[in-house]
């Protein structure tokens, strides 16, 4: 039997990695998969039924973000694909205007490695903006980095490790004076959690499984005036910009997950804000053991801290044995002895970067989850060598 059975129940505190599927969302998925299973590209009735449903889903996503007039929605397989499509799609399509791109040092690997590939294989030049000790980009640095040949700026709305909110509004306002520089933002960790000026962003990435939907479905919201060089060539779906048979069930359940999330966002935020306060107090009262890396008063969904003199891997393992799931160095590459490049960019301290722990919450967490976490964390940290 797996180790999971060792504890009586699971306390899941890794919601920035993925969230529990909402049963209502799953119900829609099942209904569509069973009863609207046409290929939305077929021209017979079953196909058209699927396609009409798909378009309803698309319209709902756009109108929930209030961008129906200005933007289009391309459905993808998830945020990694959306980020690749946005960045490479712009880079390839507009490279005749210039080959300079700007991003930050704290982006998700699906953004960072896409830029690396553009540098290494396609001869683009990339400026990586630094962050301050709070993990935030300074908009003035962006203003300085802009050049005549800049074609794209990609800056995430909320960092996936620290939850730090980036100054998206200010960045968008700077870029308003540079109409030929497109602005992409990965808002995966921000949607439904913090306020985002959707209409001011040219390209927006987010995904279903971080908002209680299913894995395998995401989208790229894109200003209508922009064209992208497609990465998937094929049957011309999604306005010729992302070929491949549409996952109608995934898309419909995604649209529903988004509606539920946005309808409840204030309530959930309030719930989580109250929830984490004891944890924040505990961390702040034990500064000899912990350093708080996040700003929970700004974004309560992620509490990130470093262990000053213990190994995070050992603590995460210990918590896991107690049935408490938290994350250390970001899930995308936590295998192997690596450190958090995000915390390193903020602190320049290898020890803190190596021994980072991320607690990420969702509406489903309870007061008791946090009480248990504090109790076990305290025991483990004080108990181990």
């Amino acid at each position: 039997m797996s180790k999971l059975t060792m504890a009586n129940r699971i306390i899941y505190l890794d919601n920035a990695a993925t969230t529990k599927v909402d049963p209502e969302v799953l119900k829609s998925y099942e209904e569509v998969a069973l009863h609207h299973n046409g290929n939305s590209s077929s021209i017979h009735q079953v196909g058209m039924d699927a396609s009409s449903l798909l378009e309803k889903g698309r319209n709902q996503v756009l109108s929930l973000l209030n961008v129906s007039r200005t933007h289009q929605c391309i459905f993808t397989s998830g945020a990694t694909e959306s980020n690749n499509l946005a960045i490479k799609g712009i880079a390839f399509n507009y490279q005749n205007r210039g080959k300079h791109l700007i991003t930050t040092v704290i982006e998700h690997p699906s953004v960072l490695n896409t830029f690396k590939q553009l540098e290494e294989l396609f001869g683009f030049e990339v400026t990586y903006l630094k962050v301050n000790e709070k993990g935030k980009v300074n908009p003035l640095d962006l203003a300085k980095a802009l050049r005549k040949d800049t074609i794209l700026v990609s800056i995430m709305a909320v960092n996936n490790e620290t939850g730090a909110i980036q100054p998206i509004e200010e960045i968008a306002d700077i870029l308003k004076d540079h109409p030929k520089v497109y602005f992409h933002s990965d808002i995966v960790q921000g949607i439904g959690k913090v306020d985002i000026p959707f209409s001011k962003i040219d390209l927006i990435t987010f995904t279903s499984h971080k908002i209680h939907g299913l894995k395998g479905c995401g989208c790229l919201i894109k200003n209508k005036s922009i064209s992208l060089t497609p990465l998937n060539c094929g049957g011309g779906q999604e306005n010729d910009e992302r070929s491949g048979t549409n996952d109608v069930a995934g898309i419909i359940s995604f649209a529903k997950a988004l509606r539920i999330t946005l309808e409840n966002q204030n309530q959930w935020r309030y719930h989580i804000k109250n929830l984490i306060q004891p944890l924040v107090d505990y961390l702040k009262n034990n500064t000899e053991l912990y350093q708080l890396n996040s700003l929970p008063e700004e974004n309560p969904y992620i509490v990130n801290f470093s262990l000053k003199n213990k190994k995070a891997a050992v603590v995460v393992e210990g918590l896991s044995r107690e049935g408490i799931m938290v994350s250390s160095v970001s899930a995308c590459h936590s295998k192997g002895e690596r450190m958090s490049y995000v915390i390193y960019e903020m602190s320049h301290d290898p020890n803190l970067s190596h021994n980072m722990i991320r607690i990420s919450l969702s509406k489903d967490n309870t007061e008791d989850d946090i009480t248990q976490l504090i109790k076990k964390l305290d025991q483990i940290v004080k108990g181990i060598r």
């Binding site: 829609s28 209904e31 017979h44 378009e55 309803k56 889903g57 007039r69 649209a255």
Partner: protein, 393 residues
């Protein structure tokens, strides 16, 4: 300081004499229906304005929705205070501070003559207060900011910005039309223009399956869904046109086929219009756009009916029609590439100057009357309504 009301001003209603009350009541109902998603709003109906009390709803979202309601001339976000000079002065100052600009002008109307201070003096008091507390200067000819004050029985309304509404008449006051709709760019625009003049529409569509695709019906559904913004419930009559169309092509010279086809369509539309109590038929025709839309063609085609045919787009340029289509959001659906019954079997050289006697001679060759009855008896009706939230979504 937050604006707490929206002031709705009527357009041409004021010319309507005794009917004015009916018009206002209809508009009032239409506004409430259009704003039903905003649960906290409250409404006040008065003889010359309608007031919407915001109760913390987002004013921009409410205004955007109101701009689709016909019969509204203009909209202003207003602040309401008591009929008290000090309050008026204070509120005016606060409101003007929120505006951008260097120069201003104050306008005042005193509908409530029991208020002891005349308009001109109110203006002086308010402007004086603004001058001594801000760096703004007065410019009565080209001010950056115009502050308007209206003193009424129930209170004083202050506002700085006015946006134009859709104009026209409230939907429902102008009777009903049978609208011929193909799924192209023009007919949805014509429908919108009819609705804007207060006319409710029912739609008639000619389908020629299997030569035309079922996709056209989906397309119409999507188009009418967009028009649901203006008319929440639209009845669509789908007329089976295949048999009639095949007969026409059997008996008519190719160059006359379109003309005869259009004559049949107008016959069918007339019958349905009378049956559904529509005093007029409307279409999206625009002069000269295609062979059947020249003045000579219109004359020959129109000959089959004595019901008025309204063509709202008749003298508009295609580019202007497209502009409206894009604004109301029908354009992107209209350009989906499906054939309709006018484009299948389209002749290479249709007559632009058809002759009536020729048409009559062709129509004598076959029994179109019974085909028309057959079509009318097999009309399929669909109701297209504003969506309730789809359970799946």
């Amino acid at each position: 300081m937050k604006y707490d009301h929206i002031m709705v001003r009527f357009g041409e209603l004021s010319t309507k004499g005794k009917n004015k009350n009916d018009f206002i009541n209809t508009l009032f109902k239409n506004i409430i229906r259009a704003l039903k998603e905003f649960k906290n709003l409250k409404y006040e109906k008065r003889y010359d304005h309608i007031y919407i009390i915001l109760n913390d709803e987002n004013p921009d979202d409410v205004l955007l929705r109101l701009q689709d309601v016909s019969g509204i001339y203009a909209l202003s976000l207003v602040y309401k205070c008591e009929n008290d000079l000090n309050q008026i002065k204070q509120a005016s100052l606060e409101l003007i501070k929120q505006e951008e600009g260097k120069t201003f002008k104050v306008k005042c109307k005193r509908g409530n003559k029991r208020f002891p201070i005349i308009s001109d003096e109110i203006t002086r008091h308010v402007a004086g207060n603004i001058l001594s507390n801000t760096s703004l200067t007065v410019d009565v000819h080209n001010p950056d900011i115009t502050l308007s004050i209206e003193v009424r029985d129930e209170g004083t309304y202050i506002f700085t910005k006015t946006i134009l509404g859709a104009g026209g008449y409230p939907l429902g006051v102008g009777g009903k039309a049978m609208m011929m709709i193909s799924g192209g760019i023009d007919s949805p625009v014509a429908s919108y223009l009819m609705m804007k003049r207060g006319v409710t529409i029912e739609c008639i569509h000619f389908a020629s399956p299997p030569y035309t695709s079922e996709a056209v019906i989906y397309k119409l559904n999507d188009l009418l869904h967009i028009l649901n913004k203006y008319q929440p419930r639209i009845r669509l009559h789908i007329v089976p046109f295949t048999n009639l169309q095949l007969e026409i092509y059997k008996h008519a010279d190719e160059s006359y086929a379109i003309t005869i086809m259009r004559r049949m369509m107008f016959r069918l539309a007339t019958i349905l219009a009378k049956r559904r109590n529509c005093p007029v038929v409307a279409s999206g025709e625009s002069l000269g756009q295609v062979a059947s839309q020249t003045v000579q063609s219109m004359n020959v085609i129109n000959e089959v009916t004595n019901i008025p045919i309204i063509r709202p787009c008749v003298v508009m340029d295609k580019t202007d029609i497209i502009k409206i289509a894009k604004r109301i959001g029908t354009y992107e659906i209209s350009i989906r590439p499906y054939e309709d019954c006018c484009t299948i079997f389209a002749p290479k050289n249709p007559k632009t100057m058809p002759r009536l006697d020729e048409c009559k001679a062709i129509e004598e060759k076959f029994d179109y009357q019974s085909l028309i009855s057959e079509a009318i008896n097999n009309v399929e009706v669909k109701i297209i309504e504003e969506d309730n939230q789809d359970e799946l979504l």
